[in-house]
Subunit: 301 residues, 2 copies
Amino acid sequence: MTVTVVSSATKEVRIGFDQPFVIIGERINPTGRKILAEEMKNGDYSRVEADALAQVLAGAHMLDVNAGIPLADEPAILAKAIQLVQSVTDVPISIDSSIVAALESGLAVYQGKALVNSVTGEDDRLETVLPLVAKYNAAVVAISNDETGISEDPDVRFAVAKKIVERAADYGIPHSDVVVDPLVMPIGAINSAGKQVMHIVKRLREELHVNTTCGASNVSFGLPNRNGINAAFLTMAISSGMTSAITSPLHAEVMQAVMGANVMMGHDPNCANWIKKYREPSADGEERGARAGRKRRRRSA
Amino acid sequence: MTVTVVSSATKEVRIGFDQPFVIIGERINPTGRKILAEEMKNGDYSRVEADALAQVLAGAHMLDVNAGIPLADEPAILAKAIQLVQSVTDVPISIDSSIVAALESGLAVYQGKALVNSVTGEDDRLETVLPLVAKYNAAVVAISNDETGISEDPDVRFAVAKKIVERAADYGIPHSDVVVDPLVMPIGAINSAGKQVMHIVKRLREELHVNTTCGASNVSFGLPNRNGINAAFLTMAISSGMTSAITSPLHAEVMQAVMGANVMMGHDPNCANWIKKYREPSADGEERGARAGRKRRRRSA
């Protein structure tokens, strides 16, 4: 029963086989968002703040923070963005960069136990990122590709994940602090992508005993009604044992699928969260009645 | 790779491990529908016809037909309803009754290979229903309860299903013509109901090599936003190997979940059905442009 514990200064989040699915909000990322990139570069973090608050309100349990802006001082901007997000929300953060210096500056200012996003299977990446993860006692996302690229064979991707988990152990990082991203392919291009993910997630769980995450929306790339595909994918991934995803909590359809999957897995005791969220209007019928009463009185006055 | 083939006079439907999920429309059922019951009793089948057409239009691959009306001549009404439905649609029918004489009168008029709904595990039911199924070369839904009622233990329900499959074989009915309903409990009352179904469906598939079906909407009994729960349930059931369900195709959310699950399972080659159904407006942008052009011309005239 593997549990990955991450935290902010005041709040703990548990990613685990017997836990409700963890949603890591993906929005704070300037990739493909020109205005956000420009603002962050100029020291304006108002949109970062708004995105943080909106995602937590929508149900994100953690937030991914990325500051990948070409020709900008990424380590400084990432640290600033993390400090800002930690000042306005209490959810743990996934520190997201492909630049080791940026990961380090983010970790240096972070309060709590962060999730480092990410390390891949190349030896030079393992040798630079894993010592940082160990030094700051963080958890880490392990992406299952390496110098040979991303294999279409899920068993090759499993082998890369296994290598990362073993190398992490060499640095004193337990398997419970490695969250594997098995890489989700666009199902419009590779029709077996869904079954691939279910297969590899089961192997990761049963053989490596690790938690899992993914960039969920990649599965629907190029297809119409992407939220419908993302909802089906997440529901199936959860039933296969996936325990978290980096995705947007702002899509009601996707959040509903995740909440429904939690109910199905027995991870929403007495369906309490489901009922709280979707309770029929009749549940506050008395209040509505009272309001209607006021209206009538006003009309008769 | 078990395949259950059912048919009308002109159309075949295949329920199978490697087939798209089969939706059996549940609407033609007077239980709890007073007006429909009254009409059917008085020989008015206009609503039966409308329900048949609407469900096929919404994507039902088969239709369940039930005529369970208290104090009415169920064998005669069921036969009439089946003849009517077969005259207006070409989808195969699930002949639904708890009265053996009604099943027989339905089978006697049916054109094609029907699905008999249903037989349970009691000896007297097995001894009366299975010979009929064999005589008419039909397939049959096997419901996994018996004289002891419905067990909360999915492994007991599995044992009842196994008994029915074995008894069917004694009558010359192959396991490929037995579609097992593992019985879906309301998850609001039994929080493990979702995992139970996934467990038993896997056993039914791997050990008995049978197709499966269920009354899907039972899972959400008593909860708000039932379609959301039904969608999550069906997606998970399909990923566990369930191959059909008796449900309403009139809920867009539920049909989307089934179509998305077909994509995820690799049962919608090139996502063709998904794309056809959800294609973005831009796909017919030329036509829209042409229309807009006409409008402009009209304005300038």
